[in-house]
């Protein structure tokens, strides 16, 4: 077990207090060499839903979006948070012109390598969502796996206005977010484990996980306190849950009308109680 000094204990004490809504963690974990490697491995594992959805699910998502005519051969599509390009490369194979942006250089290196091996032409850029400044360039924007739910209301609205600007009139915004139902499963108990090397660190470390719920805001967040011989680090992930009603209000305010609401991007018809909702909005 790594050494837990009095100094570290007093930091744990500070970290364990329930924070203000959307107070950020200390560290941008996609910049950490080891964690970004773990993230990429998790994205690329076709058999679990940890960082990206399972390979079969992504296939069905693409199939749904193409067969329903939402995405067509020749469309210009922005893949927001493309990771290692799991959606982007599948869409490129179907003749869609893809621009993929992501915050992780490591994921993009993989994506570019994969595209060049397959002879796919995809424009990948390492960019923060909030640094995009496209104007009327895309027929559609795809954001898969809940990223939109990780922002505060004001940041989300700022992002939506950038996305609105990036779309042509009548362009489509396609994304998914979590619902409150997912929290019933997760609970808010604290969990810990010791590792000799794993997702967060290559060597010996202690992980203290903690969940906080803000039911009145439909917000929940998970934090991960990592202690190793180098010291202590805090990582946080926020999640804002939505209902069809609340996400529709947000989109309408941002200038979109609602074309489809499903339980997921594979097109499962909407039913109450699902852990996700997928939305297709149209720029007015």
């Amino acid at each position: 077990m790594p050494e837990v000094t009095s100094e570290i204990l007093s930091i744990i004490h500070e970290y364990s207090k329930k924070p203000e809504l959307f107070e950020p963690g200390e560290t941008r974990f996609w910049d950490d060499v080891h964690i970004s490697k773990s993230m990429l491995e998790a994205h690329l594992n076709p058999d679990h839903d940890m960082a990206s959805r399972k390979a079969g699910t992504i296939d069905r998502e693409i199939e749904n979006l193409v067969s329903s005519g939402i995405l067509k051969n020749g469309d210009r599509v922005l893949d927001l948070g493309c990771g290692p390009g799991l959606h982007a490369s599948r869409l490129a194979e179907r003749g869609v012109h893809i621009t993929g942006i992501d915050i992780s250089q490591r994921s993009l290196d993989y994506a570019r390598q994969y595209a060049s091996e397959k002879g796919l032409v995809i424009n990948y850029r390492c960019l923060n969502f909030f640094d995009i400044d496209y104007s009327r360039e895309f027929d559609a924007i795809l954001q898969s796996y809940g990223e939109l739910g990780t922002f505060s209301d004001s940041r989300r609205d700022e992002l939506l206005s950038r996305l609105y600007e990036a779309l042509i009139p009548g362009g489509l915004l396609i994304f998914d977010v979590t619902t409150r139902a997912i929290r019933k499963k997760d609970g808010t108990q604290s969990y810990w484990y010791m590792s000799d090397g794993g997702f967060w660190r290559p060597g010996k470390h202690l992980v203290l996980e903690q969940g906080f719920d803000y039911p009145e805001n439909d917000v929940r967040f998970d934090q991960y306190i990592i202690i190793d011989d180098e010291g202590i680090t805090l990582y946080r992930t926020w999640a804002h849950d939505y209902s069809p009603r609340s996400i529709s209000q947000v989109l309408e305010k941002a200038g979109f009308s609602i074309l489809h609401i499903w339980n997921d991007l594979t097109g499962t018809p909407y039913k109450e109680g699902g852990e996700w909702i997928a939305v297709v909005g149209k720029k007015q």
Partner: protein, 250 residues
């Protein structure tokens, strides 16, 4: 071969864990707990109450403040010392007795008895749990009432998580939980880290389903036993957070 002293007979365990057992928050909620205890026991001030496993006197002191006559029993000398000092500061007259609950018995003496905060069910031999319940039964006067507040097997099964942790006042507590002996026994590893020092304890105790605890108590002579899901008197159903039984002596 000499058997190791069980965890609950070690002063070092109780002294080390005191800061995380008797947190500020727990002291804060004590008056509310005592309101609820009084209401479930259905007793009036001046009645004589036995607080079995009274620890540092959280409930004993509050009961005495409200005019009850209180006898607190605990095996840990250090706890009783703290409890007595607190009582003295407030000029409360409370009788504190250092004794093992398997031995303490004062026939026909109390109107009510309480065992709070999972301080029952530590003994490996189920006969010893029975002995404790029998001692309480005998120590109560006719019409006396025994309230026992603990973790129920049913609610634990619902919320069970292998590992859990918390931090209180700069003390980190890591716990590992194992359910053994066909859900009748719980084995916990407690790792307590404070002031650059790390202590580990194996803490084990029996798990009772509500009906099992009722059987144990009626088997000792209690006439009837009410079961609740918390001290507020909620039903013991799928939402129960605690197991609270109130046993009546005829």
């Amino acid at each position: 071969m000499e058997e190791a002293t069980p965890w609950h007979e070690q002063d070092y365990f109780w002294e080390t864990t005191a800061p995380v057992m008797f947190t500020e928050r727990r002291w804060e909620i004590t008056p509310v707990e005592v309101d609820q205890v009084i209401s479930l026991l259905g007793i009036k001030a001046e009645a004589h109450i036995l607080d079995l496993g009274c620890g540092v006197g959280r409930h004993s002191l509050e009961l005495a403040r409200r005019g009850f006559q209180v006898t607190g029993v605990d095996r840990t000398k250090q706890y009783l010392k703290q409890a007595s000092e607190r009582a003295e500061q407030e000029s409360l007259k409370i009788e504190f007795i250092q004794e093992d609950m398997r031995k303490f018995c004062r026939p026909d003496s109390f109107n009510g008895a309480i065992s709070m905060f999972t301080s029952f069910s530590y003994f490996e031999d189920p006969e010893e749990d029975r002995k404790v319940a029998l001692n309480v039964y005998q120590s109560l006067r006719p019409g006396g009432v025994f309230l026992l507040e603990t973790h129920g097997k049913e609610s634990l099964a619902r919320i069970f998580q292998k590992n859990s942790w918390r931090e209180d006042n700069g003390i980190l507590v890591l716990q590992e939980h194992r359910v053994t002996k066909n859900w009748s026994w719980m084995e916990n590893r407690w790792i307590i880290i404070q002031n650059d020092k790390r202590n580990e304890f194996e803490v084990t105790h029996r798990l009772y389903a509500a009906t099992e605890l009722v059987s144990l108590l009626t088997g000792c002579g209690f006439k009837y036993v009410d079961v609740y899901g918390d001290l507020a008197g909620s039903k013991y159903d799928h939402k129960a957070t605690r197991l609270v039984v109130v046993a009546h002596k005829a």
